[in-house]
Subunit: 313 residues, 2 copies
Amino acid sequence: MMFFEGSEKKIEVITSTEFGSLRALGKDFWTKVVAHACAEILDTISNEHCDAYLLSESSLFVWDDRFLMLTCGTTTLAEAFLYFCDHVSDKNILFASYQRKNEYLSHLQKSSFQEDIDRISERLDGTAYRLGNLDSHHNYIFHLNKPYQPEQGDTTSELLMYHIKGEGADYLRSEGQTLEGVRKLLCLDQILPGFEIRDWLFEPFGYSLNAIKGDRYATFHITPQEESSYVSFETNLELEDSGILEIMLDALKPGSWDLIGFNALAPLLENERFTCLAESKIALPCGYDMTFNHYQHGEHKVIAAERLTGKAA
Amino acid sequence: MMFFEGSEKKIEVITSTEFGSLRALGKDFWTKVVAHACAEILDTISNEHCDAYLLSESSLFVWDDRFLMLTCGTTTLAEAFLYFCDHVSDKNILFASYQRKNEYLSHLQKSSFQEDIDRISERLDGTAYRLGNLDSHHNYIFHLNKPYQPEQGDTTSELLMYHIKGEGADYLRSEGQTLEGVRKLLCLDQILPGFEIRDWLFEPFGYSLNAIKGDRYATFHITPQEESSYVSFETNLELEDSGILEIMLDALKPGSWDLIGFNALAPLLENERFTCLAESKIALPCGYDMTFNHYQHGEHKVIAAERLTGKAA
C-alpha cells in the first residue's frame, strides 16, 4: 500500500499597509516560497483581490495584505515560512500562524511540529497550542505574539474528513474519473456558485481545487486512497446556515472529521448519526477565537483488521 | 513538560518441549535479552511455574515453555527479540508474536512498527496486522506463520487506560505516595487475592507491579503524568464476571481505554457513561482469536487547549 499523507500544514500571514502589496512581490517570489516547501506551482487564477496558486501539494492564496499556504505530503512548509520571513521584516508582519493538522503517520514527516516551531521561534516570538487530545485527532497551532484585531467577516473554516466511504469515495478511487465528474460529486454549483475555479486530477489518484470570488476563497484537496483517505475543505465563506457542511458530509460520508474555525460560527450539532468526541476552544490573543471539534459517524465502529505484511489468513 | 511514552511493545514466545526449559537459560541470559531492549532487571520473584522480572521499563515473565516481555518508553524490544532468536532455533519456536500498542508520540520512537517487523521478518516468516484505525487508537501485531493450538485456559487480556482522572490519578501524581497507597488504590486485595507481588515506585512518578500465583500472572504499569497518562494492566486470568475491569475503570477513571483479548471473553458493554468507538477482531491463524475494542468516556469530550510553548494567553 502506497501511503500519502493528505493532511496539511498551513501558514497564514497578514502584513501592514506600509509593506505594500504581497501580490506585487510577483510570481517569481512566490514560486521560490513554494519551492522551499518542496512543492511547485501547477496553475494560477487571479481576480481583482487574489492570486490563487494551485500547487503540486495543495494551495497558495495571495491577497494584497495577506497570504495563506497549505501543503500536504511530506512538504517542508516551515522552510517556506522562514524564507518568507527573510524577505519581510518582523515589524511588517501583523499576524502569523502556523498550523499542523492531524496526521495519520507523523513519524514519516521530515520534522515534528515541535521541531518546526523551535525553528520558527528563533525568528518570531510566538505561542503554540494543541487543541484536541494527543492520542486522538488534534490540531497544532503556533501564532505570533502580537495583538491583532481581525476585520468583520475575517473568518476561516476548515472541514477535514477522514475515512471517506460510499459512492463518492468509490468514484474518487476509480480509474477514468474526470474533473467534471468530481465537480459534480462535490456539488460545486450548489456550494460555490459564481466562483472562478481551477482544479486538477493527480496520478494515480487525488484532486485539488482552488476557487475565488471577490475576496472569498475555497479550496478542496482530496487524497482518496483507502485506509488513509483524507479530504480537506477550507474557506473564508460564512458556513452558518449555508448547508455546505451537510452537503460535504453527505457527498463523502467520512467515518470521522474535524471542524476547525477561526472566528467562525458553524458548529455541527451531534445527532443520531454522528457524535462529537472532542471539543476544544480558545480565544487566541492574536485576535481569533479558535474552535476544534472532532466527530465520528456511528457506522465507523466495526473495523476490519488491516493486514500489513505477510500472507492472508 | 517531560514526555514519557508509557505505551508498551510486547513479545510473546512459546517454545517446544524439545528445547528444554526457558527458565533454565538462567538470569544471566535473560539479563542480556533485557539489555538488548535498553532496559534492566530491577527485581525478581519466582514460584514453581514462573520467574517474574520487574524491569526498569516494564516486565518479563518466563515460564518453562514460554515468555512474555513488555517494555515501554523508547526501548528497543525488537532487538531483544532478535537476540533471543540468535539463541533458539526457528524449529523450537512454536508461537511468536510482537505487538505495539497505541503510542502518544510515535515519531519519538527509535523505530516504527514497520521497521521493527521488516527486521524481524528477515529471521521469522510472519504476518502483521493493525487492529483499529490509523488515526485513532490501534494495536499492531506480528505473528509467526505457524499453526498453533493454544491450550484451554491460555488467555490474555490487556486493559490500556489513557487520560486517567480523579482522586486515584491525583494520588499517582502526588509527592510522598507509597507502595502501600498505590496497592490500596488498585484494590489489589480484591482483584489479585493470594498473588505474590513485587512492585516499584519510580522517580519522579510511575509505578510497576508484577504478580504471580501458580501459572497465572498479572502486571500493572503506570505512567501518571498529565496529558500523556497511561496505565496498562495485563493478565492471563479469566476476566469475565471477575469485576476486575469495572474496578480498574472506577479506580483510575480513564478518559479512553483499549481492551485487547487473545482467546479472552471479556467484552465491556457500552453503557450511558461510555461508548465503544471501535471494535476489531480477527481469528489469527496462529491459534488465537484477537479482539481490540477502543472506548471513550462521555466526560472525555471538552478538552482545554494545551499550551506547548510561549506565554500564557
